[in-house]
Amino acid sequence: MSPALTLEGAPPARAEVHALQQRIHAMQKTTVEHRVFPVSQAVANLFPERGLSRGSIYQVDSSASLLWALLAEPSQSGTWCAVVGAPDLGLAAASEMGVNVDRLVVVPHPGEQWFAVVAALIDVVGIVALGSIPAPSDHMLSTLTGRLREREATLLVRDAWPRSEASIQVRHQWSGLSQGSGMLHEHRMSMSSTQRHGHPVRTCEMVIDAWGAHEQTHHAPVIDIAHHRQAG
């Protein structure tokens, strides 16, 4: 047994423990900063590190708007992104939401070979989003997580996979239509992300309109001046 794991022996000096803690702290900080694909402001609140951590799997809702919102910032900063097994993509909406579609690779029908395709893509593509694909076996899953960690890539899946870092749920609310008139003009998305390690649920709101996707801004409460005046 290594000396570090023995409980016997003199307790380590306080200064030494402090130094070690400092070192661990410093190391953690740098790794977190480097091992993240930063995402746009509108969805950054969903993640404690304000970005998709590299080498992880996220379970995201099947909402395409959410996918485009997550890919916008990484693709703009030059990361290649891939969408595998999802043939129905609104690319015009993607570029409207800020995705650099020139950095987007689409494999619409990988069929039985989805695993080989994803394994190959991870080598160069930073973020791979999976559409509807058959459930992977345990062996495939452990191979895939190993590769993801090695290549520092991120995988977004629709179904509940074990070992996923977080799962993101969306509630939609469209406004603009009434009974027979109007047109869809504002899309409000309430997202909540449930972390794996029992962290509190993180929520965030995003609004998509003709000017693209942006964070829900809460206006300052309106104070009824007239009421105050009367009182005073």
Binding site: G90, L91, P108, P110, A120, L177, L184
Partner: protein, 519 residues
Amino acid sequence: MRRSLVVWCPQWSLVAAYQDDSLPEITPGIPAALVHKGAIAQCSREAGEAGVRVGMKRRDAHLTCPSIVLAASDAHRDYASFQRVIIDLIACVPQHSLIAPGLVAFHARGLARFYGSEEASARMLMDAVHRSQPLATARVGIADDLFSAVIAAQHTTALYPVRAVEPGQSAVFLADMPIAVLEDEATVSLLGRLGVRTLGDFVALGVEAIRERLGTRGEELYRLATGLGGSPLALNDAPVDTEETIDLPEPYSLTEQVAFAIRTATQQYSDRLRRAGWVCTQVRVTLSFDDATVHERTWVHPRFFSASDLVDRVRWQLDQCFRDRAGEDTDFPPGLIAVRYAALDPEEAYAHEPGLWGHGPDSRVHHVLSRVQSMVGASGVLTASSRRARVAHESHALTPWGDTPPVEKNPGPLPGALPSPLPATVFSTPHTVGVIGADGAEIVVSDTAELSAQPHWLVSGSRRRKLRSWAGPWPVWEKWWDPASSRFIHRLQVVDEEGIGWLISATEAKHWHIEARYD
């Protein structure tokens, strides 16, 4: 000055067009012409007899000879087909100097020594051209300088196809030629207005006067006209044959068999090109089957084709062929008997050498995506190009990796385009749905673009969604300018109970489809 022998093939562009499989309507024996910039560049004998002349406007040619077949002239086609003739001529003479497609020069002295006389070598070369390209006729001009030799070749007749200018007689020969042979439009027109009609008149002006009036360009023309000019021949070795036909030992009808059978030969072809200093970025693959059908396709590569890339292209093309023909009612699947590669626009290999520090991250991306392509097929890996879509259905915005994306020429306003925000999911194949009113009856759109009732339910298969709000219908006439793909639809935007928006449309046949989802 070296004595030159020039072989000239009149109407070469037409001969090249006869050979071009993509122009099946142009055949020998019909009035045909090639058009360059709206004017006739070359016309066949039949068209000439009907009154069509070189330089005529396209519409005038149609008026003069209504049955004329016109095609665009293509310098690349002329060059590529003449290259094949030169490759065949190499058996007779090792070095050549290509002046233009259809016009090639040789050193006359060596030829005359080897074949006995200039006349004999001319006959031999004419026969060789005819053997290589039976549709072409060859004329030969021989003179002390290149310019005189070209003029001599162009002033032969079908009856006397060889014209030799005796040594030292170039100036005398040229003196009778019209001034237009100088092929310098501005100068020729000026000299014509000055009353100079022949090269003899031009030379008689004297070099001093010409230099004074026309500068160094005039002096060059003077040297040509006296038979002293013309650059020495820049001789080249034989061009490399950039085509290769691989004959299979027996008809194969399995893709893997074919891939295995052609691997070695393809590697040799690729090596042969590389040794000659070429790489190909565009290749035309022609597959010949045992039932006499031929499948041809041009492939483009973002970098250049390696041997395994070529084999992959053959496999994909063959897969596509078999898929296309799967519906045919035949007892035996067609067997492949030959594969033919033709490198289009081969490029110098040095332009594609990797840099000293490798060639950047993009080559890695390319490598991996090509590997994925070899798993799921060429059209299985797509990249997007940022272009707007009028129709919700926009699969055309995706192009297979490696293909050149379609260029949007004029990104003007798109009438009928969807307003922003756009649907994030667009169905590549629209699903059929039912739109049901509160009373359970299917809703139809009347001719005056009104709904028969308020939509209440959206039914897709066994799933039923209650609709909360809706708007429409909007009539949209897509692609009205193209009768084949135009369609008239009514669009409806609806929001269901979960807050998800849908774009649905009714066709003229009163069927409802989901085009896109706002999710």
